[in-house]
Amino acid sequence: MSTAPPTPSPPGNGSYVRMQESEDFAELRRRFRTFAFPVTIGFTAWYLLYVLLSNYAGDFMAKKLFGNINVAFVLGLAQFLTTFLIAWWYARHANAKFDPEADRLRAVVEADVEHASEDAR
């Protein structure tokens, strides 16, 4: 609560600038970026690894695990599984760690914009 924008001055944009400079917003941005950026790098790398294995590690991929199910098939299904899991994980993270704070800051900044435009009248 430390940095709810102080006295509003000129209408409009000032409210956004103050919000962006606030510690609360920095924390919100941090929660978003520290999840989204590393996870994006992670799943892209995992997908590329899978593509490269399919391309260049034929013998490994052809290894049969049970019946006619080989490593290639299992890794392919694992891509589906990790996609579902990451989507679920992100939704959980966003619900718990991101949405409540985003909603609160949205209310603060909208009230501030409203206030600023009233003062300007």
Binding site: N13, Y16, M19, F25, G58, I69, Q79, I86, A87
Partner: protein
């Protein structure tokens, strides 16, 4: 193992009547829905964004409907039937791509934009040049995609209905074009969204049915299915290596160039989805960013489930139908799924086979119609909102004028698509879908990401990344084997190719990012006090002031 048959030789009149009736029912129902939706379309938000009134589940279905084209339904099933594991590999890129949209694009875009991709790209830039660029890129991506779908529709429907000759194909292209124009101009985003929802339900229903029938034939033992597929695919003079059929390499593993080409394609698929304009505008049809997130979650579930089922379809076709028959029906395997439906329903002379074949054919037709409608809507919306309203009329057009312009441009784009579809009918344009993904990944995605996350990004950077990414990808494809120098090229009789890969992504995507960065740092900063970026950042993360 199986009675040899070809699709065209299946007792044509019977199944043709059935397909045409089923398809007429689909067209009739969707047109009624479109007219009803059109009556409830009053303002620009209704027309462009369906009044932002759809639920997460509805939009998730619609996103899936927009995304699962005939290329991914018939194309992937066919690729698996012919190349086994390599076809399966293809579908994974299409799915993983959704995580980029989920984590980085859907929510900020929904929060900060109104109707088009250009809204977000131009947010803190000089409006006119950046909106022009966004409009150009949207139209180019959509037209490439549209052209591939239209030509594919002509060829496919002709095949399914047993029509031969150019007149028949051209009539189909014109018919598809006219219906899609009706959907878009009458129904706007509301009507088009409902068409997507109906189509998605039909496609999923049809796929579940065939999947269960195939799996039941193998007592739900996947290993037996794979074994039978590999064994059957390796028989005959066209037979392939059974080991490679299951572990990869038949399509992309031929030599070091095809391997590199697959890496290039994979990157373009994963990064392109979150830059496809017809997908991006779907995020505006829901009330909040949180609903946009939930619609992507639904879409991931639906699309993932669907691609898992294409594995059963593809390997099922490989196991149950002779390879020679699949190839003789369509060299690219595009009719493997309909052939499988016919076989699994009872095969030659059976009414079960005829009914299933008709159902799957009608579903394929519905799929094509819905996708082309989504593409027409995206490109005409961008023309009207970005170029007409904000560049030509400098923001002074009324809502009514803008929506009228959108309808007019939908008719114009539809007409162009019909003409191109007719004239390109003999060309092999399947490569254009991959090109659309590559352009989206090289021109649109860098610009979206820089706009949202990089403060120093400016107008010059945006123009460089859009036009640079666009030019590099189009030029590389123009001089690749997609266009010339290959029997399967668009112009097989000439050869002016020098770029070895069929997909430009490996070069053009880094180029797009590099151009955007260079353009920004080599030009004057625009937003020195960071005020505009502050507004965009606060809006995109919190949803403050969202439309």
């Amino acid at each position: 193992m199986n009675a040899a048959f070809q699709l065209a030789a299946v007792d044509t009149t019977d199944h043709r009547t059935l397909i045409v009736s089923l398809f007429s029912v689909f067209v009739a129902i969707t047109l009624v829905i479109t007219v009803l939706a059109g009556r409830r379309t009053k303002d620009a938000t209704d027309y462009y964004a369906g009044g932002r009134s759809f639920t997460a589940f509805q939009n998730g279905l619609a996103v899936s409907g927009d995304y699962m084209s005939a290329a991914s339904f018939l194309g992937i099933a066919g690729a698996i039937a012919l190349f086994g594991y390599d076809g399966f590999l293809y579908s994974i890129g299409f799915l993983v791509a959704w995580l980029v949209a989920l984590l980085l694009v859907a929510e900020p875009l929904r929060n900060a934009g109104r109707f088009t991709m250009g809204d977000v790209l131009a947010y803190r830039m000089r409006q006119r040049p950046v909106r022009t660029a966004a409009g150009v890129s949207t139209i180019v991506v959509s037209i490439f995609y549209l052209l591939a779908q239209m030509v594919g529709a002509g060829a496919l429907v002709a095949l399914l209905l047993g029509i031969s000759g150019d007149t028949g194909k051209n009539l189909i292209v014109v018919f598809v074009g006219v219906i899609m124009i009706l959907y878009v101009t009458i129904g706007g985003m509301k009507g088009t969204t409902w068409v997507q929802i109906v189509k998605a339900l039909l496609l999923i229903g049809g796929t579940i049915l065939i999947t269960i029938l195939v799996l039941a034939k193998f007592h739900f033992n996947i290993s037996d299915l794979l074994g039978a597929a590999a064994a059957n695919a390796s028989e005959g003079k066209d037979g392939v290596d059974a080991g490679q059929f299951l572990s990869g390499g038949l399509q992309y593993g031929l030599n070091s160039t095809t391997k590199l080409d697959f890496v290039s394609l994979g990157i373009a698929l994963v990064l392109g989805t979150a830059g496809l304009p017809h997908i991006l505008i779907r995020f505006y049809t829901v009330p909040t960013a949180k609903t946009a997130r939930k619609s992507v979650l639904w879409a991931i579930g639906i699309i993932g489930g669907f691609y898992l089922m294409t594995i059963a379809l593809g390997f099922g076709a490989a196991a149950l139908i002779d390879r020679a028959d699949i190839i003789s029906s369509n060299a690219a395997g595009n009719t493997a799924a309909p052939l499988l439906a016919y076989e699994i329903g009872g095969g030659d002379g059976s009414s079960g086979g005829a009914i299933l074949l008709a159902v799957i054919s009608a579903v394929a037709f519905a799929t094509i119609l819905a996708v082309v409608a989504g593409l027409t809507l995206a490109s005409s919306s961008s023309f009207a909102h970005d170029i007409y309203a904000n560049v030509i009329r400098k923001g002074k057009a009324t809502e009514r004028e803008e929506v009228n312009a959108a309808r007019m441009s939908a008719i114009a784009i539809g007409a162009v698509a019909i003409l191109l579809g007719v004239f390109a009918g003999k060309l092999n344009v399947a490569g254009l879908v991959a090109l659309a993904f590559a352009v989206a990944a090289s021109a649109n995605l860098p610009t979206i990401l820089y706009s949202l996350f990089w403060k120093r990004f400016n107008t010059t950077g945006a123009l460089w990344s859009i036009y640079g990414g666009l030019t590099v990808s189009v030029v590389l494809v123009l001089f690749s084997k997609v266009v010339s120098g290959d029997p399967a090229a668009m112009f097989p009789d000439v050869d002016f190719h020098w770029f070895p890969l069929k997909n430009p992504g490996l070069i053009s995507i880094p180029a797009g990012f590099l151009f955007g960065w260079l353009g920004s740092i080599l030009s004057k900063p625009e937003d020195e006090d960071g005020k505009k970026f502050a507004e965009l950042e606060v809006r995109s993360l919190t949803g403050a002031g969202a439309h």
